[in-house]
Amino acid sequence: MVSGSSPRAGMAAPVTTARRRHVSRAWIIEFYGSAIGKKAVMAITGIVLLGFVLVHMIGNLKLYYPNAERDLNEYSRWLRTVGEPALPYKGFLWLVRGGLIISFILHIHAATTLTLMNRRARPVKYQGGRSYAAADYAARTMRWSGVIVGLFLIFHLMDLTWGWRVVHPDFVRGQPYRNIWHSFSPERWPVSVVYIIANLLLGLHIYHGAWSLFQSLGWANPRFNSWRRGFAGAFAAAIVVGNVSFPIAVLSGLIDDPVQPKDTEAVAPATFEAPVWTPAGTGSTSRGL
């Protein structure tokens, strides 16, 4: 029953038409064609990217090793040579990079198409405004945190992977320790500021994403449901604390100046021990290696 006059009796109900019809296609296309399938893809690619940021952060913790410069540079060299001779030089690295690039593209493509779908689902916004009962700040800003982190990633690659002169004039290929130290040096403080803001946003993105992926993949169980939020929070916190500590450590002088000469890029790891670039008296061989 409808109060007042009866609009249903007097007026034809507006026809709501389906946006798209379901067509038989190859199952993987059809799977990705569904929104739940796209969300599953976002969750799985999200897990891949989460794994990357965690390993990336842990790898960079070598900055705090007693012999940080040697260890970090050696680690970066290992990333290029691991799997040899079964894999070619940089083979493993490119396998990982390939997976990351595909994940990144799929994650963004799914997010974009789902966002457009969601916009179409509410063409008329709430004219009197709306209030949120549960959606937290992280969830409501996923789009923005995602886009900003994505843009930062491009800058981050120009700065510390590709070493573009315009971004990072003193970049030396094969010497990540020197590059990190220089990138976060006090005279380049805006780089550190951008880096810290981007990592806080990354943390916000992870705080929602690392929880959300459980729902998207249907991983709900009374045994661990109460842990999902804690897991996402802890993951986000670990990434933010680890990553943000690097520029702070460099800016505060906690990280020693690089001593390896700039031109030793192609030198084998063994030569790193040579006194040629070890300051007199500090003795990089003190660990008894």
Partner: protein
């Protein structure tokens, strides 16, 4: 105690009309009234003045039919938890309050008039699989099929959905995940629902996605649901849907061909 309120109500003559807010004074409202009774009083006054009363859906007025529902101050069914508009009492408001009232906003829920929206897209989702196929003949004994108590309780929690549409209205994406997942889970949990379990979830999700937005796990639906349906059912629906996609696909051909897409 009596309240003097100012209402800002969405008025829309019909589906084609653009609509606008209109402000009404609602003086001397008894705080024992429900929100709908308050609107009845306002409508009586409008009718006495020869004006068009505010159209809104309602039926049982005891929170179980799912007919009523609109957005009050930006929140579907208003500020109280686990409450439909008809169960919302005016004692939850204060004297002098300004209250904004607006219909559900979703492409799938076009406004028919004022606060009344067309929710027949929900019926299409139900039509796509929200049932079990039962052979006719003599009814079997009610307790012939054993259902574990915990399962029955969970299925009942899902079946508590009254289909009011608040989940869609509250969802920033205009998604119908909570409604659909409740209807899927209600049957997919029970033994009687097993024969059509995979085709049901596939068909109902496909139909849902033809009209509504997608879930981004805001949890807004769960918070505004008058029946407190849990988003655990959404996870369960996602799981069933993903599983269905990886099962013997030949068995799904009929289900997909028979799906209702408008």
């Amino acid at each position: 105690m009596n309240l003097n309120l100012t209402l800002k109500v969405w008025r829309q003559k019909g589906p084609a009309d653009g609509g606008h807010f209109e402000t009404y004074a609602a003086p001397n409202i008894n705080d024992d009234m429900s929100f709908l009774e308050m609107l009845d009083v306002v409508n009586e006054e409008l009718i006495a003045q020869g004006k068009e009363p505010i159209a809104f859906d309602h039926d049982c007025r005891e929170g179980i039919c799912g007919s009523c529902g609109f957005v009050i101050n930006g929140r579907p069914h208003g500020p109280m938890k686990a409450t439909t508009v008809c169960q919302l009492h005016m004692r939850n408001f204060h004297d002098g309050d300004a209250i904004t009232i607006e219909p559900w906003r979703a492409a799938a829920f076009p406004v028919i008039k004022d606060l009344v929206v067309d929710r027949s897209t929900f019926d299409r989702i139900i039509g796509a699989g929200g049932f079990i196929s039962a052979p006719t003949g003599a009814a079997s004994d009610a307790n012939l099929t054993l259902v574990p108590k915990a399962t029955a309780d969970l299925a009942f929690d899902a079946a508590a959905c009254i289909g009011c549409g608040a989940c869609v209205a509250g969802c920033p994406n205009g998604a119908a995940q909570l409604f659909t997942s409740a209807k899927v889970a209600h049957l997919n949990l029970l033994p009687q629902g097993q024969p059509e379990r995979w085709s049901r979830v596939t068909s109902m999700v496909n139909t849902m996605e033809a009209y509504f937005g997608s879930c981004t796990n805001f949890r807004e639906c769960e918070a505004v649901c008058p029946k407190e349906i849990s988003i655990d059912f959404i996870a369960k629906m996602n799981r069933d849907f993903l599983q269905a996609k990886f099962r013997d696909r030949r068995k799904l051909v009929n289900a997909e061909a028979g799906e209702d897409a408008g």
